[in-house]
């Protein structure tokens, strides 16, 4: 655990992912009455974390282009829910449920992070 702090990396990635997902949900919610707007989703954390290492190009310098910068944010998908007569496919209920789920995911990630931090602190003799 202390060599490369996987625990921190994983919980950091999870918190970041839930932040990004919440932003997508916010966009859906704001456009709930926009004609022709298609609801967007991000892949769940479990999928994107396991795929993330391979599917993205590695960027080792600031000048390198990341694959997500080229394609916008590549992992955002258009969800295939049924659209209302005005072409809008946002379901407010679904978005509410998603946002609560995302918040819980975020809290979970932060709890893990905090706990790892506590363990680290304990190991250097502080409490």
């Amino acid at each position: 655990m202390f060599k490369n702090l996987d625990m921190f990396q994983a919980s950091y990635a999870m918190a970041r992912h839930s932040g990004a997902r919440q932003a997508v949900t916010a966009a859906n919610m704001a456009n709930a009455d926009t004609p022709g707007y298609r609801a967007r989703t991000l892949a769940p954390f479990a999928e994107s974390y396991s795929a993330g290492a391979d599917s993205n190009l590695r960027t080792t310098r600031a000048q390198h282009l990341s694959s997500s910068a080229i394609a916008g944010s590549s992992s955002v998908q258009i969800s295939d829910t049924e659209a209302a007569p005005n072409g809008n496919s946002v379901s407010l209920e679904q978005e509410m449920v998603n946002s609560v789920e995302i918040q819980r995911e975020h809290n979970r990630a932060l709890a893990i992070y905090k706990h790892s931090l506590d363990v680290l602190r304990l190991s250097i003799g502080r409490k």
Binding site: A15, A23, A26, A30, N31, D33, G72, L110
Partner: protein, 130 residues
């Protein structure tokens, strides 16, 4: 953190748009008995910046409902024509109330999400606390 400020900006754009919609609804209701008044509607569109959708919503131009005005029979009215009719407004109160309720629901949903994002960023800040 950037995602949180993004999310907050987007939800507040949603609230602003719904508030603008509600304002037009209230204008329509206030003028329901104004002779010759056409009801106002506004359109929503996804905000685009430098060719990319930002995720926020913006209100488009205000437009007037072109449907026929109500003919009200009142020969004693100063605006009455030869048949004794004058032009009322084309505001249908039922539609306006339903529209206002829908705007309220969407506004509440945006507000709820704003609160949730705020809670998330607060809990992130709490990590610094010991």
């Amino acid at each position: 953190m950037a995602d949180f400020s993004d999310a907050m900006r987007i939800t507040s754009s949603g609230m602003r748009a719904q508030a603008a919609r509600l304002r037009h609804v209230s204008e329509n209701i206030a003028n329901a008995d104004t002779p010759g008044y056409h009801r106002k509607t506004i359109s929503f569109a996804a905000e685009v910046e430098a060719g990319q959708a930002t995720g926020a919503v913006q209100t488009g131009r205000m437009s007037l409902d072109r449907s026929d005005l109500d003919q009200i029979y009142d020969p004693s009215h100063p605006l009455a024509n030869a048949d004794g009719n004058y032009d009322g407004s084309n505001v249908n109160l039922l539609i306006e109330i339903a529209d206002a309720r829908e705007a309220q629901r969407s506004y509440e949903a945006n507000l709820k999400l704003f609160d949730q994002v705020r809670q998330m960023s607060t809990s992130l800040m709490d990590l610094l606390r010991r």
